[in-house]
Amino acid sequence: MVRTKCDIGSIRFILYALMLLFSQKLTAQTKVDPGDISGNFQMDAQYYREDTLIGAPDFPENVGSNSFLNLLYTRNKFQAGIRYEAYLPVQQGFLRTTGSGLPYRYAKWTDTKFELTAGTFYEQFGSGMVLRSYEEWGLGFDNSIDGFRGKVRPYEGVELTGLVGRQRNAFSNRVENLSAGLIRGFDANWNINETFDSLNIKTRIRIGGSFVSRYQKDEDPIQNYPENVAAMAARVNLNRKGFNLFVEVAKKINDPSTVNNIIYKDGSGVLVQGSYARKGLGISVQAKRIDNMDFRSDRTATFNNLNLNFLPPQTKQHTYRLATLFPYATQPLGEWAGQVEVAYKIKKGTRLGGKYGTSLTFNWSRIHGLDKVPNLNMPSEGYDADFFGISEKPFFQDINLEIYHKFSKHFKATLSFLYFNYDEVLFKQLTGFQTTEDVTAHVQILDMSYKVKKKQTLRMELQHAYTQQEFGSWAMALIEYSIAPRYFIAIFDEYNYGNEDEDLRLHYFSGTAGVNYKTYRFQLGYGRQRAGVLCVGGVCRIVPASNGVILSVVGSF
């Protein structure tokens, strides 16, 4: 059931807009500022081949492509932008449905004390616990708000924001295609030092508060759904010398929804972030408690659809391939998380530091579920959870150490050790894999870079993941050769040597080559890609196994 919006209309619109702007260019010689146009675009296309061995399904259209074109027009205080997106059809594993259109268009007026946006916009209140709308192209994620937003700076150091609108749901901006819920939000930020500048307070203090409300009609005759659901947050940030402390508390008033199984319990969130930074040393400590804080613009939405807030996992974001075999996603219905990270540079000239110094980074994150007790007096409340109560076993734990050393002008290397462990039930919930015991894994990674001659570098990665659960152990090797600034070529292989099923001990071999020309980049890849999780910026999407050609073209102007 695929509905592609007829985009002849949108194409015509863009053509007219361009002709208008083009004609402005011809008058660029006059004194009147004609404004400035810029933009960027990207096109990712994938050709799929059926591969039953790795479970790559047949893709009837053969080619999936995701592309967008962004245009931005600026003239003094006025700014307007438009984006055309086309998923024809959408690549596998993406959160969007097939279609095309102009889902993003806006006009903005900015002044020193006042700013007004009409159309589509992105916004974040505080840490995002009650509101964050953003986009992540790599995942096909975009929960922008379509409506009005105003920002006012009435006094030095005070900023107030008000917004009203609906969330994006598909490709068109017609009211029936936006979210069913109407969002109203208000945010205030006060930088006390800026306002009381003359007092010269040594500690920098900032406080803020937000209030967000969703209105959605209740047409259910039996269940009384609240039509106005509100969430609010208060925060304070203290900063002095190298120390920084940020605390935010949030509360959500009865929000029965599909995700929380229609309970009327209030939601709460507490976030504490502390850090210390001085030359050569950085420490950050974080604790977070989330209880029933899933908040969407439609009470029936699930997965990555129509999220209003942002609850990122309190874990280190890994980029090395085998480390991403073990991801974590926040459990919005309840979790207690802690994370510590220490980054230290051993000075150059010392024994361990060598000629250039050695960088160490240690990270430890541990997440527990809440201690939930069913509420038998009021079943509609669902459960009770003591503030400091935690589950016996941790949901997830990630302990890792990274060591970087530059040996000479030509050779540098990074060595990492990682340890992961999951609770059995949580792992099933996260990945759908029916494991029969807790999952643990040890990963070792060696990343080396050798400068062959000026502007030519050879890079090699060796990775190993040892685990006795899920699909067993993996080994991976990658070689990349780059000729700066233009060309690069890489080949890599992932081998599932530890799989219990001998027939599934497969090699996932692929190669990529690319060219960078000025601000354009052209990349072509071929081979087998394993099924797995692709996590970008805290949102993960499951990428199915695939076999075929991948093409990517990116540029900006």
């Binding site: 059931m1 509905r3 006012v152 009435p154 107030l160 008000g162 749901n169 598909a170 029936e176 069913a180 109203r184 939000g185 208000f186 209030f211 409300s213 209105y215 209740d218 047409e219 259910d220 005759p221 039996i222 269940q223 009384n224 759904y225 609240p226 039509e227 106005n228 659901v229 509100a230 008033i253 009865n254 029965p256 929804s257 599909t258 199984n261 229609i262 009327y264 009470r299 029936t300 939405a301 699930t302 997965f303 509609s380 059995e424 039930v425 099933k428 919930q429 759908g432 029916q434 029969t436």
Partner: protein
């Protein structure tokens, strides 16, 4: 100008802060579903490996208690979450060829379980598959409509042969695309069910209800009622026979019949009956 700016901000703040509802009575205990002749088919895609599905089943119990006979439930075990996993104790295979075809046709696995269909209609978001928080509203929307037809059923088992008689009476005109579908569902099946909300992650002897067992009419999309346009007032009598599968306990089974428009696949009316004899 300053006063105006501040004034409008305060007004906006007041307006925004007043938008917060606190509910004291979550379920309307005195609200009776309006008496109606419409009977609604709710098909719930589920599976014993699906740890979130018991939540949908709990909601189905609330709905059944409110809507009674007007709600007919069929649980379809299909897709990845209905696979057997003997190593972990999920042994029985509850899949059916009809369930498999429906799962593939609607894409339930891709949408994610639990998910269901209310009379297989397409709703405001353009989808047929709906999450359980919306089912109540959708059922009440259809209840308010007048039924275009009614179905009468009898089902008897004699000597291991099940005989079903269906009488379909039309109040409004119909088309050649109207198909009659009759299926068997079974209750009181007990086996292991995954449940993420309990400490061990599963319930050993979970009560599986309204489980789709098979279809009595040929194929998965039923049988055409008439090879031509149907007049208002026409009555059809259909008779089906099936050798009863001894694995199914006839005391716990229901016969569910419904008429669909084979082009849109939407359900026009449904009926449910227990087996006598």
């Amino acid at each position: 100008m300053k006063v105006f700016k501040l004034g409008s901000l305060i007004a906006l703040l007041a307006f925004v802060l007043s938008s917060c509802d606190i509910i004291d009575e979550p379920v309307c205990l005195d609200c009776q579903a309006e008496a109606s002749e419409m009977k609604i088919l709710l098909e719930d895609f589920t599976g014993h490996l699906c740890g979130n599905c018991p939540r949908a089943h709990e909601q189905l119990e609330v709905l059944k208690a409110s809507y009674g006979e007007n709600l007919i439930i069929v649980g379809i075990h299909a897709g990845g979450f209905a696979k057997v996993f003997p190593a972990a104790g999920y042994i029985p295979d509850y899949t059916t060829s009809m369930g498999d075809e429906l799962e593939e046709y609607y894409g339930a696995d891709i949408e994610g379980l639990p998910v269901g269909m209310v009379n297989r209609r397409t709703w405001q978001d353009g989808k047929v598959l709906q999450k359980f928080a919306g089912w109540g509203t959708q059922i009440s929307t259809i209840l308010a409509e007048t039924p275009p037809l009614s179905i009468g059923l009898t089902a008897v088992i004699t000597d291991q042969i099940l005989r079903v008689d269906a009488q379909v009476g039309y109040f409004e005109a119909g088309t050649a695309d109207h198909h009659l579908v009759i299926v068997v569902t079974e209750d009181s099946i007990f086996s292991k069910q995954s449940d993420y909300d309990v400490p061990d992650g599963y319930i050993p002897n979970y009560h599986h209800q309204h489980m789709l067992r098979g279809s009595i009419t040929p194929g998965n999309w039923g049988e055409q009622l008439k090879p031509g346009a149907i007049q208002a007032g026409e009555i059809f009598n259909k008779e089906y026979q099936l050798t009863w599968n001894s694995d199914w306990d006839s005391n716990n089974c229901h016969i569910v019949a419904y008429v669909i428009d084979n082009i849109t696949k939407e359900v026009l009316q449904a009926e449910e009956i227990i087996i006598n004899g």
